[in-house]
């Protein structure tokens, strides 16, 4: 029924939107300043919920699209467009009950056919997609069926108990294929316009299924060149909310005009060591590096102290999956580091290059601090800055590097965090290879019992730390400045800006 949606419909709905907002004005006098401007540092590019990859796009469209399930600011997975899910014992069949009374932005009702279309599209099961999943994590989906009783059944190729968090992927109207130009979902805000390099504007969804939400009439995501540019705009008042600050920069803001919120970001900042190049292929050298660095100093210099020290591949934000027994494994110990270097035959140290992307100041600064610290054990680290494109190409995809610093972001899925350490994984840019880890990672999705699964995760983390596969540094805090004009903003432990709960402060 949505097959013939065209530009005309979009235009009509835009017109309808103007009309309804005018009608809204007539009913209750809307405050002229009932809007918020959020500063973002990444250029938005992709608005299709299934092809979106960049975290910076994700944080915007979180407000436009919704999935069957949705994360809240605590990291809990809650039912959203589904009211519940039934998972078969072998975790190969997921049956969702679809919520009733939800409307898309064009006013049409959400029904199971839309869900089937969306999941098929994401999993690459539509005709003409050639089986290439748009959301690669949903690749295991083999069949999606409308059970005609308001439920949708998703069948997987094999059992996978870790898939629920991917059903947060956006649901779009059946047959709709214009998400890039005219995003349409069921979220609290509707897409209004995109001015490349400048802003993305969203407006209130009057028909939002969660009554009373959202509060704001309009949200603008404004592009700032970088953190410092955003800071300037914050102080001049042209931005209300600005995430991803460092504490020393946040400290420069007028505290009567801004509240500073701080939260773990569920990121893992890693000093990645290419396990395939000499001398980093020697576990003793990698251990020596881990003992030589002072994570507290790095956090002090890069985040002014606002970060959580990490010695393993996962952020404590993942709760039980995180293994607290590994805390403190690599506290700075220069003697031990030197001994390990000598044992490996490098008592005089060696030269090494750190290829880091200039797009992220925190990583460049970390590299600078690391270089200074590594001198103590004779490692002479040269820093090579490359732009984001070159970094992705040569370091991440090409794996032509010795060391690098980057933050690994993830959704709230522990499997996702550790998947990259499988020897055959696309994301295994550190060239790590351990048969035991491969085996454990095979086993985890088949394990239905959650306690058992947690134990397996702990085992993987333990091996990674034991192998000193790289040096983990910190989970940098997300520091957000929010204008005192607004309230109700929550910092998520993932790359998301939830604007639905933000409202004007009641003074």
């Amino acid at each position: 029924m949505h097959r013939f949606i065209s530009k005309a419909v979009v235009i009509i709905s835009a017109a309808a939107l103007i009309f309804t907002s005018l009608a809204g004005c007539a009913k209750k006098p809307a405050a002229a300043d009932n809007y918020a401007v959020v500063g973002i540092t990444q250029e938005p590019g992709i608005f299709d919920p299934h092809t979106v990859v960049a975290a910076g796009d994700e944080e915007i469209i979180f407000n436009i699209y919704e999935g069957l399930y949705k994360f809240d600011s605590e990291g809990n997975l809650n039912p959203c467009l589904a009211t519940d899910v039934e998972i078969s014992d072998d975790a190969s069949v997921y049956t969702f009950t679809i919520r009733k009374g939800v409307k898309f932005h064009d006013g049409s009702d959400l029904d199971p056919a839309d869900v089937v279309y969306s999941i098929k599209r994401a999993a690459g099961l539509l005709d003409g997609q050639g089986g290439v999943a748009l959301v690669s994590e949903l690749d295991p989906v083999s069949e999606v069926k409308d059970l005609s009783d308001g439920r949708v059944q998703v069948t997987l190729e094999s059992g996978n108990s870790e898939l629920l968090s991917y059903f947060t992927t956006g649901i779009i109207p059946e047959g709709y294929d214009n998400c890039q130009a005219a995003p349409m979902g069921t979220g609290p805000f509707k897409f209004d316009s995109y001015n490349p390099g400048q802003s993305v504007i969203l407006v209130r969804n009057e028909n939002y299924w969660q009554k009373g939400l959202p509060y704001l009439d309009k949200v603008t995501f404004k592009v700032c060149a970088d953190m410092d540019a955003g800071l300037t705009e914050l102080s001049s008042g042209s931005i209300d909310i600005f995430p991803y600050l460092t504490t020393d920069r946040a400290a420069q803001l007028d505290s009567s005009r801004y509240n500073i919120l701080s939260n773990g970001s569920n990121m893992v900042q890693i000093f990645a060591l290419n396990n395939k190049v000499e001398p980093l292929n020697d576990v003793r050298v990698r251990e020596a590096i881990n003992y030589a660095i002072n994570r507290d100093d790095i956090i002090s210099v890069t985040m002014d102290g606002a970060g959580v020290k990490l010695t393993t591949a996962m952020s404590p934000a993942l709760g039980g999956y995180y293994d607290t027994s590994l805390d403190g494994t690599f506290d700075q110990d220069l003697e031990k580091a030197k001994a390990l270097m000598a044992e490996a035959g490098y008592e005089n140290g060696f030269d090494i290059t750190c290829t880091v992307t200039s797009s992220y100041l925190i990583h460049v600064n970390t590299a600078v601090e690391l270089a200074s610290e590594l001198k103590a054990i004779g490692i002479n680290m040269e820093i090579k800055q490359v732009d984001w494109a070159t970094w992705l190409d040569t370091v991440y995809t090409g794996r032509q590097y010795e060391t690098t610093v980057i933050a690994l972001t993830s959704t709230y899925a522990p499997y996702d965090v550790l998947e990259r350490y499988r020897s055959t994984s696309d994301g295994n840019f550190i060239n790590y290879s351990n048969a035991k880890v491969d085996e454990l990672m095979e086993k985890i999705p088949m394990t239905a019992d959650s306690e058992e699964r947690t134990a397996l995760y702990h085992q993987v983390l333990g091996i990674l730390t034991e192998d000193a596969c790289s040096a983990y540094i910190q989970d940098p805090a997300t520091i957000t400045a929010v204008s005192t004009r607004l309230e109700g903003y929550h910092v998520y432990p993932m790359y998301v800006q939830d604007m639905s709960t933000v409202k004007l402060a009641q003074n």
Binding site: S136, N195, T232
Partner: protein, 317 residues
């Protein structure tokens, strides 16, 4: 002697040849840039198959020669395709950013003219006097301050001393024209400073040179006042080369504004350019670089023609 038409034709052929070489240079440069556009667009978490799909969609798998010809054709029709990163036509993107860059260039140029002309005229009236010397020294100092350093110093001053002009708050001309001019004042001034010095120095010395010319001395003996001589004879004569200097200054201002925009966080061509560089956005990058070069070539072309019209001797060279 070469005819006027012959000169024009010669210059036009040169213009077209230059533009062709420019386009080749631009294309060659961007074809050897390392970095996979499709991978950049999708980010590190995308799978290989997703990347392949996008690459084919964008025509990145076609041979180089084909891509050059398609690109050249698209440039000539002023429609150099869609930006990979923004998914919007390049022309539209550039047009959106022009108000900042053009605004800054125009304001800076006006500043250069209204500040350097009177100062140069005053200085040149009695060269060597204290006022002249002070102006010259200040001129040298200003000439030595890179525009971005001047910007930083201005921000430092503007922020702490007279927070009159807002920093980093771009206002679109369609929203509030006065606000638009106001937000460009400081950055334009930063870009203009060294050029004010340059144009002052040039004008001053050419006025002094002209003043010693016979015809000026004659007019003086006829009782014309200094000021009248300056306006009637000296300036028009030195204006021949002013045209050249102005085109050089304009092209420098354009270059300078690219960096200064970055300091003031203004959404102009410079920032678009940098983001295009870091995102491997070939159509956008080549579009910006080519059109900027195009504007410069055109500036020089116009200044050549204008100078030759003003002074036919130039054609003889």
């Amino acid at each position: 002697m070469q005819s006027k038409a012959g000169y024009l034709i010669g210059k036009t052929v040169e213009l077209i040849l230059t533009l062709l070489v420019v386009s080749l240079l631009v294309f060659a440069a961007f074809s050897i840039i390392p970095g996979d556009t499709a991978r950049v667009m999708l980010g590190p978490d995308a799978s290989e198959s997703q990347v392949e799909l996008l690459r084919a969609e964008m025509g990145l798998d076609k041979p180089l020669a084909t891509r050059y010809l398609t690109w050249l054709a698209s440039l000539i029709t002023f429609d150099p395709g869609k930006s990979y990163a923004y998914n919007v036509s390049v022309g539209e993107l550039i047009a959106q950013r022009l108000p900042v860059t053009i605004g800054m260039s125009v304001i800076a140029m006006i500043m250069v003219i209204i500040i350097s002309y009177p100062l140069a005229v005053l200085s040149a009236r009695k060269p060597g006097r204290l006022g002249d010397q002070v102006c010259s020294v200040i001129g040298h100092v200003l000439f030595a301050i890179p525009p971005y350093v001047a910007s930083l110093l201005l921000i430092l001053l503007a922020g702490s001393i007279f927070s009159l002009l807002t920093v980093g708050n771009y206002v679109r001309p369609s929203d509030d024209f006065a606000g638009y001019i106001a937000c460009l004042l400081l950055p334009s001034f930063a870009v203009a400073l060294p050029k004010i010095a340059m144009s002052f120095k040039f004008l001053r010395s050419s006025i002094i040179e002209q003043k010693t010319a016979d015809y000026v001395r004659t007019s003086k003996s006829h009782g014309l006042s200094d000021l009248k001589i300056l306006i009637r004879h000296v300036l028009p004569n030195s204006n021949v080369s002013s045209i050249t200097i102005i085109s050089i200054i304009l092209s420098d201002i354009l270059g300078g504004s690219l960096i200064v925009e970055q300091v003031f966080n203004l959404p102009g061509l410079g920032r678009l350019l940098l983001s295009a560089i870091s995102r491997r956005d070939f159509p956008l990058l080549s579009g910006i670089v080519f059109y900027l070069a195009f504007v410069t070539v055109l500036l020089y072309f116009i200044s050549d023609i204008a100078s030759s019209l003003a002074d036919p001797r130039i054609r003889l060279k």
